[in-house]
Amino acid sequence: MKVPFSYLDRQFALSAPGEDATLTDNIFDDLKKFVASGDFTLGKSLVEFEKKFAKHEGTKHALGVNSGTDALFLSLKGLGIAPGDEVITCAETFIATAGSIAQTGATPVFVDANDEFTIDVEKIEAAITPKTKAIMPVWYTGNAPELDRVLDIAKAKNLKVIEDSCCAIDGEYKGKKAGSIGDAGGFSFHPLKNLNVWSDGGMITTNSDELAAQITLLRNHGFKNRDEVEVFGYNSRLDTFQAVVALRMIGDVAAVTDRRIAAARRYDQSFADMEGFIEVPKRSTHIRHVFHLYMLRVKNRDALLSHLQKNGVEAKIHYPIPLPYQKACAHLGYKKGDFPKTERDCDSIITLPAHAHLTEEEISYTIETVRGFYSK
């Protein structure tokens, strides 16, 4: 049996109950009108998608940008982060989290992860210096960081909070949606995300009118109107084309998430008795973890990975090298031993397919294949 990590072909072939038209058919119907309309840049469909997205995440504003990376970068710029500043983030994340900080000229300052792949809030205060301007907690894997604590620290030290929610559309922390808790939230619609368009794409959410106005300028060259330039900006717009695609998907996001959570529950339960071989991270009832990535810490990881791949289960590693030890970070002066939990994770994590389009049989097969490896 093959258990694919990517679900794109299945997603596109899907029909709504009682309908013949697939998701792809419906999107192509919309695209036909879109291509004929010529409304390609900051168009009507983009505005509609932004409204729906803001409603979905419970924020006042949502602004489409070119990518999740740019969502974080422009949020930082809009909040005034500049060269000489420091921004605290988690050592265990995708490169773009720290990349967006570096892009502003500020310095990323890493804090180790906890056992649930999010920033260890107890270590944040020790990382704060007079140069610190913001904290960027990451909803890594789709799990929420302890945001109450992050907000408390930020308030006491007068820091901005930018949620890296790139993995976490539909995620919740104490009843509040991802991207609605800090000063700004950055989302990604990259083809591998839970809400996925057909290219790069991103979104910034915020409740601040002032920040929204600033980002509206920054994403479109700083234009106040066609001829007048208020500030020097960038070119980072979510293509209206991709908003047309996303509009066909946003209504299903909650259902897609529920299916991912159901797959994760099955895995959790099936591996609960494998202590010593598999460590299932603690799950918190106050968090809606959306399982963009279903990650476990396992013994003998590399051998398990090849065993799974050999048996058709497309498992992955996100990621094998701790971010602070990448060559790009060499100038920051971190050394091995600085981030023990992140290092441990990089050597022991594995990501199992847990998407919304897996069958019960495929999940069972994945479970059996994992268990089979350890019962040898």
């Binding site: 004929a36 070119n66 990349g99 700083g222 208020e230």
Partner: protein
């Protein structure tokens, strides 16, 4: 009343719709949405067309300028010389890398004046960014000589000039790097943002490939801090469909321009194509002191026109801190009050052009 819109993306896309959707479907079938087959195909095609060794697809023309300067190490304390009458992105990308835009006034042909460039070169100057405004190549020979003498990079802002030529060499192949925009309003246009860099510089190309992809050398290794600026596979697929039409469209624009010149040459100042060059007429800019009244008159008669651009960059609020003031660039400033772009796109027919020309003549007859 006849309608001659300044831009008509609806008319442009009606005959292309089927092929565009088929190309999008191919991307979907392959699922290679990010840096897929169509991006590579487009890059090869663009490099061949421009006569460079390499082309790299990026998210926008703005990012093309920005990333080239990043790769060349241009930043804080450096100066880059460019034209003050361009689209904002020429200067804003210089600001974005942390450098200072230094403006040099233009000639009557709206392109940067090499003699003015010469006056602006200092020990801090790192590059010259000539803009091939309106699709007309800048006077590159003296610019290249200056760059050579002062060891400066030449970054061509060719956003409006795909297909233009200067003494037989295409724009994009005239400097160290050529920066193109594939925005919907360009002659070779995606259905969303897009851009590209053309170059013969292998090191530039290699670093651009990393920069556009978050600095990643492989899936798991990053060697430098990068950006996310990839040409979408879907836009590349659409551009590959349109590439087949590019020469035809360009010839049509050139013919439209010639027709205007023939009919309006004795009425108003029309753009000329300089000897030894190919001007591709991204815009057809006439100059008249009665510009604002003419624009209103044309509008009343169903003719769309546009101004590229009414406020010179050095006079924008955003540029205040660089200390530019009215009077600094007399040619640019005079032109800003006199320029009017007439519709010249490839989907206009002879009757459209004649109608516009007649209306312009009618205006000046009164």
């Amino acid at each position: 009343m006849r309608k001659v819109p300044y831009v008509d993306l609806v008319r442009q896309h009606a005959p292309l719709k089927k092929d565009i959707l088929a190309a999008v479907e191919h991307v979907l079938d392959r699922g290679d949405f990010i840096l897929g087959e169509d991006v590579e195909k487009f890059e090869t095609r663009l490099a061949d067309y421009c006569g460079t060794k390499y082309a790299v697809g990026l998210n926008s023309g703005t990012d093309a300028l920005f990333l080239v300067m990043k790769v060349y190490g241009i930043g804080e304390g450096d100066e880059v010389i460019t034209a003050p009458n361009s689209f904002l992105a020429s200067a804003s990308t210089i600001v974005a890398v942390g450098a200072t835009p230094v403006f040099a006034d233009v000639r009557d042909d709206l392109n940067i004046d090499p003699d003015e460039i010469k006056k602006k070169i200092t020990s801090k100057t790192k590059a010259i960014m000539p803009v091939h405004l309106a699709g007309r190549p800048a006077d590159m020979e003296p610019i290249c000589e200056l760059a050579k003498a002062h060891n400066l990079k030449i970054i061509e802002d060719a956003a409006q000039a795909i297909g233009a030529e200067y003494h037989g060499v295409k724009t994009g192949a005239l400097g160290d790097a050529g920066c193109f925009s594939l925005h919907p309003l360009k002659t070779l246009n995606g259905c969303g943002d897009g851009g590209a860099v053309t170059t013969n510089d292998e090191a530039l190309r290699d670093t651009l490939l990393q920069y556009r992809n978050i600095g990643l050398k492989s899936r798991n290794e990053s060697e430098l801090w990068g950006f996310n600026s990839r040409l979408d596979s879907i836009q590349a697929a659409i551009l590959n469909v349109k590439f087949d039409q590019l020469e035809k469209w360009t010839e049509r624009r050139i013919a439209n321009a010639a027709r205007y010149r023939e009919r309006l040459g004795s009425t108003v100042r029309c753009p000329e194509t300089a000897n030894g060059t190919r001007s591709v007429y991204h815009t057809f800019v006439i100059l008249t002191e009665r510009r604002d009244a003419l624009k209103i008159f044309l509008e009343k008669n169903g003719v769309g026109s546009s101004i590229h651009y009414p406020i010179p960059i050095h006079l924008q609020k955003a540029a205040k801190r660089f200390g530019g003031k009215a009077g600094d660039f007399p040619v640019t400033e005079t032109n800003a009050g006199q320029m009017l772009s007439l519709p010249v796109h490839q989907d206009l027919n002879d009757e459209d052009i004649d109608y516009v020309a007649d209306k312009v003549k009618e205006f000046f007859a009164n």
